[in-house]
Every structure is written in C-alpha cells, then in structure tokens.
C-alpha cells in the first residue's frame, strides 16, 4: 500500500541509489546504554551552536569587507544600516561566547564521567584540538571589526606569540602579515576565521563524532545498563531542547544589547584601555603577576602546563573505574584550575572596577565610540573610518590637546591638576575667569605655577610690600566687573553664541582697560609704560585669532611679546608652529577655546 504512494515510490527510488535509510537507521537507532541523559547534551549543543555560528557567519561575510579602511565601516553598515544586521551580528557575537561556555561544560562533563579513559583517549585529544580551534575562532573573530577593542586586545595575543623562544618574531610577522598591524593582518585573520578554522573544525568534529559513535557514551557507574534508549528520539529531543535553549538565550542577549558592541575605529596612535573578551580575562590577569624574565611563565608557561595536563590526563588515569571518587586526585588539577580561573577572572574584574583611572579612560573611549558612530551615520569617506575620525574637529582637537597641551594645561577631564604648570583653561576667557584673574592672578590654577607668577598685581587686594601698598588704590567692584565684561566681549566671535553683554558695561570697561590696564598691558600694540614688556595684548583677547596666534607663537605681539619666549621666563609656553601644521594649530586653538569658554572656571577658594 504505502509503496504505491508517491512518497513511498520516491523513497524506494532514492533507497536503491543511495541506501539512505540504512544510513539513517544506523545514525538514529544508535543504542544509548544506561538511557538518554541531559548530561550528554553538551556535545550536541556545541554542534548546534556551531551551526548558528556558521549560518550567521556566512551572512556577515556577505557584507563584511576585510581591509583596514573598510572593516570598521562595513561592520558599522551591518550593525546600524542593514535591516536585521544588528540581530545577525548579535547572534554571532554571543554565539561565540556560548561556544566557549558550552565547551567548558562539555570538558567538565567528560572529565567527571571519566569519558576520556581507555579506549577513548584519542577522542579526548581530538576534543582538545576542537577546544584550541574554538579559542582560535574567538581570537581571530575579535579583531575583524577593526575597532579599538579588538585591535588592542588582539595586539596582546600576537605580541605574546612574538615572544616565543626562537621563531617568535618570525611567527608574529607571518601572522600579522608584516611587522605591524594593517590590512594584511585583517586578511590573514579573516582567512583563518572563515576558511582555515572552519575546515579544521569540521575535520576534527568528523573524527570526534566517528570515534564517539565507535565507543558510545560513558554512562555513570550507578546507571542501569539494562535500560537502553535509542538515540532517536530519546536523546535527540534532549539535545534539540538544549540547542533551542541556547538559541533562545542568544536571541535574548542580542535583543537586550541590540546587537554587538562596536568601539571607535582602530587607531594605532591612541592610548586605549585594552581588555580581552571576558573568557580570556584569567590569562590577562595572569600577565600582571609575572614580570621581566618571568613574563613567559604567565604568557606561555602556565597555559602550556595546563594544556599538557589535559593532554596527559587519559594516559595517567589508568584505573579501570569511571567512578569519580578514586579519580579525584588526578582530576584535582582540573578543578583547581577552574577555581583558579574563576578567581583570576574575579580579580581582573574587581581591580578594573576599583581602578578609577581605568574607568576614566574607559569613559573617554566610550565617548569616542559614540562620536565615531555619530559621524559614520553621516557617511564614511572613501579613506575609511579612521580618516573620518581623525578629521573630525572635536576628536582631533581633543587628541592634539592631549598630546601637546595637557602636559601643562588642564581643561575639563584632560590633564593632571597636581602637575599642571600652566593656567587651568576651565572657563578661560569668560567674565568669571577674568574677574578671578584680576582678583588673584597668582592662584595655583592661574599664574601661580607658571614663570609669570608675581608679575601681575591683584586689582583689589593690596600688595604685601608695605611701600607698594601705600600707593595702592583698590579697583571698585563695579569697575572690575565692567573691565571683565569688556575683556570677555573681546573674545566674542560673530555667528557664535556668546553671553549677552551689557553695552554700558562694555563701554565703561573699555575706558578702564585702556586707562588702567595699559600701564603694563598693550592694547592693539599701544600702551605699557613699564619696562617689563611681558603683559599680553588685550585687544581681541580670547578670540579665535588671539588663541591661534598664542598657540602658533606666543611672542608675535599679537598676544605676548618677545620676552615671553626668553630664558628669563624659563618654563614659559613654547611656540607650536614648528611642531604642529598650521591646520592642526588652528584646529586645537579653536577646540581649546570653545571648550574653555563653554566651561566654568575652578571655584575660588
């Protein structure tokens, strides 16, 4: 009857030509002595997760472009422009972590059940090979987005490879495709990630499964061996349930995080608080404890000993029993290793959580990532994402300020307040800052730590020298206010939002500045009847032109005069037109000025 149906006829036709039913029966009816168990699901869950990784990986490949100028941009495009891209990348990202977690559980289950013992030693070794391949996937995949996180974390791994005895440097150069990271590093890692490692994994899995089928499961000692389940459906439904649970968790994580994180584009010139993915944290933490000649103990010694222990375990464990008790001494290193790894991971996380410096640089990195994503949404130039970031006035301005200005100046969260040798730029050029300057010019956050300390007198506090104090006439508060308003207005630029200035005050202030301040200062080059020749010109004080001129060369008379660069005032601000391009000098001047004027000065004590 059934043979007459279409399905039956097609089945018979196929069976004649392939013998598929016997293969299928062989696969599905495999006996599971002692019965199906949840403990056996980890291998299958790993296989299923690998299928998820393969499917999402191929999808990502359709849009990913491995080169230093396109990798970040294409990952941005996948994550934020292509429909469903965030979900596909999120599944792949969390899938890789699921692989590592499931692997650990699989190894533990096999170890506890004694499934590595004779005659299964080789299968244990193939399993260890799969573990290495999976970690290789994790390592190579982390670099591919070419963002700061992957770039800097992976550097550590390749640098460790570079310290291998003998062939280290050659090994590193070959891996990276050169002595430094670049497009060839990406094409290498990409080829490993999408061809070499998958092919190795498939080969190893095939042998692993073949050997597993040959020897079958290793039931616990208390199992009722008379109970025999067939692989299908008794074990299959449990395996599938585990696979579905994994997929469900991946969906939940991907949706909660809305995909996978993408840091700012890789920038070889930046300083970045590099941390590996969480499962590599124990190794990362280990590196902190070994220095100098001992370094290799942490980078290679301990991992090599751990690997060797795992390789040798089935050959040392010759006791015929699979009961856990008698094997505990031999398994102790494994359990201690796991506890140790947990401890190291906790130590790494808690030291980062307590490290305010790390937290601060993490915050800066996150801020940069946000700006980069923002910029990318307006289109990425053909030169790539790094070029885009480098040409952004905000990021580039901050960058130059950090490199050139922050050794002496402080502005916002940049620079070291304790070590600052130049005035704090918080609120510089604002009315409040100028008032503070007129009142107490030698405060630490103004001229106090500079070679100009003691050069400018306070306008409302009598000098210490009683002879000078005798002739001192404090400036009236309303006059100080007017002068400050006038000077702050000197920095206002048309087309820029400035605080409202009272015209009457500006006019009054102008008179005061031109009569009193020009005793030492110049205004448009006029004034200064002292012979000190150090006080700066006050015309357009705080304007873009004033700051730019000061950055390029503080001794042009547009700001300070020749003496500002003389040896007499050693420690003075240097000229930067010799080390910065004209564009960069203009850019950092604008950046610093706008951030100074939009912040508030340090509160007076």
């Amino acid at each position: 009857m059934s043979d007459q149906s279409l399905r039956g006829r097609v089945g018979a036709w196929l069976e004649d030509r392939t013998g598929y039913t016997s293969i299928l029966h062989e696969m599905l009816n495999e006996p599971v002595p002692g019965g199906a168990r949840w403990a056996y699901v980890f291998g299958s869950a790993l296989t299923i997760t690998f299928v998820i990784q393969a499917v999402t990986g191929v999808l990502l490949m359709t849009a990913y472009a491995p080169s230093s100028s396109t990798a970040w941009a294409s990952v941005y495009h996948i994550s934020f422009v292509m429909s469903g891209g965030w979900l596909v990348r999120g599944l792949h990202h969390f899938g890789s972590q699921a692989m590592v977690v499931l692997l650990a559980l699989h190894v533990l289950q096999v170890a506890i059940y004694g499934a590595y013992k004779r005659p299964r030693e080789l299968n244990w070794l193939f399993g260890l090979g799969l573990l290495a391949v999976t970690l290789g996937f994790a390592l190579t995949g982390y670099l591919l987005p070419w963002d700061q996180k992957g770039y800097w974390a992976t550097q550590v791994a390749t640098n460790i490879a570079g310290t291998s005895p003998g062939i280290g440097p050659q090994l590193q150069t070959v891996m990276q495709g050169g002595t430094e990271y670049g497009s060839l590093t990406l094409t290498h890692f990409h080829a490993l990630h999408v061809m070499v490692l998958p092919a190795s994994l498939l080969g190893l899995v095939m042998v692993h499964l073949f050997l597993f089928r040959k020897h079958g499961v290793t039931p616990p000692t208390n199992a009722d061996l008379k109970k025999v389940d067939k692989f299908f459906p008794a074990q299959v439904w449990k395996d599938l349930a585990a696979g579905l649970a994994v997929l469900g968790v991946l969906f939940a994580l991907a949706i909660r995080e809305h995909g996978a994180p993408l840091d700012a584009p890789a920038d070889p010139a930046s300083d970045y608080p590099a941390r590996p993915e969480w499962y590599f944290l124990p190794l990362f933490q280990l590196l902190k404890y070994f220095h100098g000649p001992l370094e290799m103990v942490g980078t290679m010694g301990i991992p090599a000993i751990a690997g060797l222990y795992l390789v040798l375990l089935p050959f040392f464990d010759k006791k015929p029993t699979t009961a856990l008790g008698p094997r505990l001494p031999l398994l102790a290193p494994l359990f201690f290793g796991i506890v140790g790894m947990g401890g190291l991971m906790f130590a790494a996380m808690s030291s980062d959580a307590a490290d305010t410096k790390f937290q601060a640089s993490r915050k800066v990195a996150d801020e940069r990532a946000k700006i980069a994503l923002d910029l990318a949404s307006k289109g990425i130039p053909p030169g790539g994402a790094l070029e885009m970031v480098k040409h952004d006035p905000e990021l580039r301005g901050r960058d130059i300020f950090e490199k050139k200005c922050a050794a002496c100046h402080v502005l916002g969260d940049i620079g070291d307040r304790a070590k600052a040798k130049a005035p704090s730029l918080d609120g510089w050029g604002t009315e409040a800052w100028i008032l503070q300057m007129m009142h107490d010019p030698d405060a630490k956050e103004r001229f106090g730590s500079t070679p100009f300390a003691g050069m400018m007198p306070s306008m409302d506090v009598a000098p210490k020298d009683p002879k000078d104090a005798e002739s001192f006439k404090p400036m009236k508060p309303e006059d100080m206010k007017a002068a400050a308003v006038f000077l702050a207005a000197q920095g206002d630029e048309p087309g820029e939002a400035s605080p409202a200035r009272d015209t009457a005050q500006v006019e009054a202030g102008e008179k005061i500045v031109k009569s009193r301040c020009t005793a030492c200062h110049t205004y448009k080059g006029e004034g200064d009847d002292s012979s000190i020749e150090i006080a700066p010109d006050l015309a357009r004080y705080g304007s873009i032109a004033w700051v730019e001129s000061q950055v390029k060369n503080p001794a042009t008379k547009a700001t300070y005069r020749e003496k500002a660069l003389s040896a007499e005032y050693k420690g003075h601000m240097p000229r930067f037109d010799e080390e910065l391009s004209a564009e960069d000098a203009a850019l950092v001047a604008r950046w610093a000025r706008s951030h100074a004027r939009s912040s508030s000065p340090v509160a007076a004590k």
Partner: protein, 181 residues
C-alpha cells in the same frame, strides 16, 4: 506487557513529533533573521526623489547643439560617501531659453549614446547609440533601431546662469520608463 509497549510507542511518537516541531522552530528562528538580512538591499533602495545637480553655464551651450555634460555629485556606496564624483552624464541642448536634458544611457541595453552631428535638420542634431544602432531625433524620440523607448528626458531648470538637472536613472530594456534607486 502490551500496554507498556503501547505506552512506549506512544511516547516515542510524541517525542518524534516534538523533535520535528522543535527542529522546524529552530530552523525558522534562524532563517527569519537570515531572510531579513539577505533581502536588506530590497529595502535600502527606493527612489531618491529630486536630486538637483548643478552643471554648466547656460552660456556654455550653443543653440541647438547637444553637449555632453558630466553629472558630479556625492555618491553613497554602501558605507562609503564619496564627495563630488561623476555619477554619469547627460546630453544638454539649448533652444532659446529652454534647455533639454537626456540621459546618455541607451534604454536598450545601457550603452552610451552619441550625438550625431550629421543630421542637423528639424531643430538640431539627433542621437545614436553606437552599440546596436538605435537612432533618436533631436527631441530624443526614437527613430529606428532596437531601443524599446525614447531617450530618457530629465527635468532641467536654470538658476544663477547655471543649468541644474534633476538627475535620475531608469530601468534598461523595458518599454515603460521606470525609475530605479
């Protein structure tokens, strides 16, 4: 015994169904985002709407004589935004105050159409495609050859002495003019 065997059979059937349903659920859960992702290009396209591109000065055009003019504007290719690249070209012809514009892309199979200087009767020279000899008159109308439709006319306007063209692209090889993203 028989009852137990029946119960086992029933359990096996139920589990088999569970596995089939579970596998289907797994497949669908993975296939759904895959399908959305793979078909993303279908959703990212669509018409640009108007895209006015500044070309040459009106005074650069000679009355009745077609001039091939490059269309230079910003181009978005996946993630890359390129500034001021040649997106294509148009034939501009001035007749009095009016300027006509035709896409240089032949509606037949996409070759680049030439101006034929030879037949200048009936209000200016015509156009011809060098690939499969489609011929068009000076107003873009198809005269002979395999082209399924007339040349694709584009809207123009003159602002500040410059000719602006609303640059668009059209599907090749069909009778009806259809804009493509």
């Amino acid at each position: 015994m028989g009852n137990e065997r029946d119960a086992n059979e029933g359990r096996r059937d139920a589990l088999t169904k569970l596995v089939v349903v579970g596998s289907a659920a797994f497949g669908c859960a993975l296939a759904a985002p895959a399908a959305v992702f793979v078909t993303a290009p279908l959703r990212s396209g669509g018409s640009h709407g108007e895209r006015w591109v500044k070309t040459v000065r009106v005074t650069d055009l000679t009355e009745g004589q077609p001039k091939k003019v490059a269309i230079v504007a910003d181009q978005r290719d996946a993630w890359t935004l390129s500034k001021d690249v040649e997106l294509g070209a148009v034939w501009l012809t001035r007749r009095g105050d009016a300027v006509s514009a035709f896409s240089v892309v032949c509606p037949h199979l996409g070759c680049s159409i030439n101006a034929e200087t030879g037949n200048a009767e009936a209000g200016g020279g015509g156009f011809g495609c060098p690939c499969h000899t489609s011929a068009f008159d000076g107003t873009g109308k198809k005269v002979s050859g395999p082209s399924p439709r007339d040349m694709d006319a584009l809207v123009t306007k003159v602002e500040g002495g410059f000719v602006l063209v609303d640059f668009r692209k059209f599907r090749i090889g069909v009778e009806e003019r259809q804009e493509i993203g």
